[in-house]
Amino acid sequence: MNFTFSEDQEIFRDAFKRYLESNVTPEKIRSGWEDNNPFNQARWQELEELGILQSNLDEKYGGLGLDLVTSCLLVEEMGYYALPEPAAEQIFLSNLLINKSADIAKLIDDKNQFISVTHSLSPNILFLENSSKLINLGEDSISIFFSKDINGKKLKSSDPSRDLTNFIFENSDSGLLQTLNDQKSLVNNVVTSGMVMSAAVLIGLSRKILDLATAYTLDRKQFGKPIGSFQAVKHMLAQAAIEIEFSKATLYRAAYSLDNENPLQKLHAAQAKLQAIDACEMVSRNSMQAHGAMGYTWEMDLHIFIRRGWSYKQVWGNKSLLENYIMNQLEKDLPKLGSTYTFL
């Protein structure tokens, strides 16, 4: 039992963090919003040069072959800095599909391009125009399309960093490259991975939101002192810190279970996502409250992060779906519950 990260994992994460710190600032995110073009192609190339995009891609496809525990740390930081480009999706969804299926790997000849992945849990196409291909996951089939041939309807997200397109796949062959059948277990695997990915984004966002709130309460003075010195404010943010702390280990265990194809990986992923949803909700609410009216403005950067959470809470497993899944699973596994089964 060694539930810690290796030095290499931490070094890689920290190097990536330094890149994000100077290259993904709220100003740059806002300028993408203003240009109506949140996907910055230059930054996407930088992410490739840094090895981030292909970090978990198998070495035989030119990737670094790192595990999803490492990816999880990277994606957490993408959340922390609200990176608009869909690198988290590339790692946890399309790279995973390529790694797990030689058929798909053959069809995706441009692995450094963004490949958008949709499923009923995340049906709107993310960054269609910035993607080269689109993979639509059915219940047990997987279809690969050329993105340029898809003519969908643009949708406006409450997060301007998310470019979304609606498209009805049924009965449409437009741009279809190939459909693979009998893919149920792979689809299930990608859905599980999507849960872990979105949970990691939420935890990163939550950490950032709390950091912003803490900094604000040190800065903002009322009654002659920083509002952070008042217990009502302290306790609100302390509770937020508690929620974040107790979501992390669940998240890392879920990533570890994915890497090791643990038979309970989907349950672990659902736990991680549900914990992360609850954490992000409380952290967002308490942090906005700590900001007072300033938190409710467009000018303050806080909402860049909070609204991103609104989306990631719902895609790749929302509360209702996760609760139902976990409850059914628990009823089935009842005899195997209890402390002695935590790691079985």
């Binding site: 060694n2 509770q239 736990q271 914990q275 609760e323």
Partner: protein, 383 residues
């Protein structure tokens, strides 16, 4: 990262499981907050010790097994699985024991550690006073040195287990000129000393789980001073650190409660509303989250990292969780939940646990104090 148990850890689990299956009393003991139950639990401590299971985390030189934290978590999991008796001497085993090993003289270690391990000395805590609760530095009970004795005068309160315990440990003001956290000393006091009056305080369940201790010119030998005179505060902080940390509240206890709650829920589910379902689910989820967090923390500690104020995060988390789980169980049990009787669904244990769960957010530093610590020391918010 490698999550899972090694073969030797699995073997250790088998070993403790087997011993407990053979030795845990088939009929539950009386509560250790009754005279009769206290002695039954003392016997159990002796029994544990006979199998060398009483002080598993203590180093071998002090009669322990020198278990590391992961092994200790396994031990606890098996202990709760076997429904073994509560540890009447936890003040000694988990709080004073490690403190003695760090600060005690060889003579003190010799005198107290093995008596603690066998259950011969059961310890109570003497921190709080009527005017010193959350503000512990306001302690006024004095222990002034006279020759080779300390003369103790004053009053302690909320002393857990003091109604029937043999000894108490706590902080006393040894420097008459001092105030706040300076001039305090950590002293061990036998409760049968002349001038000690123990007045038990019945708790919410009606049993005297804690007591007031009055000291009226009580003479204690100077050899009962732990560490240096006037160094009591820093030693007490170390003790409180142990308490808030892993040792006192292992995750197994909450996971077992969560499983019990799930069973209760599935048995009655046809008559229950959605809000109950979601609370049951939350309980299980959070008990698991706590366990995973503790395994991660234990791994970090074993890799040589330190934890400090982080332990306050856990204290708030588990105490809120414990209350929520018991509250939900009572909501499922409905009208029978008030019955302190042995009836179906283990009703009596739920209502007892529910009462006890009210104390979690209060003892070992209230959750409000913990949140101040989190805000000030982890988040860097101003005092």
């Amino acid at each position: 990262m490698k999550i899972g148990f090694s073969d030797s850890q699995k073997k250790f689990r088998e070993e403790i499981r087997e011993w407990l299956e053979k030795n845990v009393p088939k009929i539950p003991l009386n509560s250790f907050d009754t005279k009769e139950g206290f002695e039954e639990h003392r016997e159990w401590e002796k029994k544990l010790n006979s199998g060398n299971w009483s002080m598993v985390t203590w180093p071998e030189q002090y009669g322990g097994r020198g278990l590391n934290l992961i092994e200790w978590l396994i031990f606890e999991e098996e202990y709760y699985r076997a429904k073994a008796p509560a540890r009447v001497n936890q003040n000694g085993v988990f709080l004073l024991g490690p403190t003695l090993m760090e600060y005690g003289s060889d003579k003190q270690k010799e005198k107290f550690l093995s008596a603690m391990a066998t259950g011969e000395h059961i310890w109570s805590q003497g921190w709080s006073e009527p005017g010193a609760g959350s503000d512990m530095a306001a302690i006024r009970t004095t222990a002034f040195k006279k020759g080779d004795k300390y003369i103790i005068n004053g009053q302690k309160t909320w002393s857990s287990r003091a109604a029937f315990a043999d000894w108490t440990f706590g902080l006393f003001r040894s420097d008459p000129e001092s105030d706040r956290h300076r001039g305090l000393s950590f002293i061990l006091v036998p409760l049968d000393a002349e001038g000690v009056t123990v007045r038990p305080i019945p708790q919410l369940d009606g049993e005297p789980g804690f007591a007031e201790i009055y000291f009226d010119d009580v003479e204690v030998d100077v050899s009962n001073l732990l560490g240096g005179e006037g160094e009591g505060w820093s030693i007490a902080m170390a003790t409180a650190g142990f308490e808030r940390g892993l040792m006192l509240r292992s995750p197994a206890r909450f996971q077992e409660t969560a499983s019990k709650l799930l069973s209760l829920y599935f048995k009655n589910k046809d008559n229950l509303s959605g809000s109950i379902e979601s609370k049951v689910l939350q309980s299980w989820l959070r008990a698991e989250a706590y366990a995973l967090n503790i395994y991660q923390t234990a791994s970090k500690l074993m890799a040589g990292k330190k934890i400090g104020p982080e332990s306050s995060l856990g204290k708030v988390f588990w105490s809120d969780l414990d209350h929520q789980m018991h509250q939900t169980a009572l909501d499922i049990l409905g009208v029978s939940s008030e019955l302190e009787e042995v009836v179906a669904d283990d009703v009596a244990s739920w209502i007892k646990g529910y009462m006890f769960s009210y104390s979690g957010p209060i003892y070992a530093g209230t959750n409000e104090i913990q949140k101040n610590i989190i805000a000030e020391r982890l988040l860097g918010m101003p005092r």
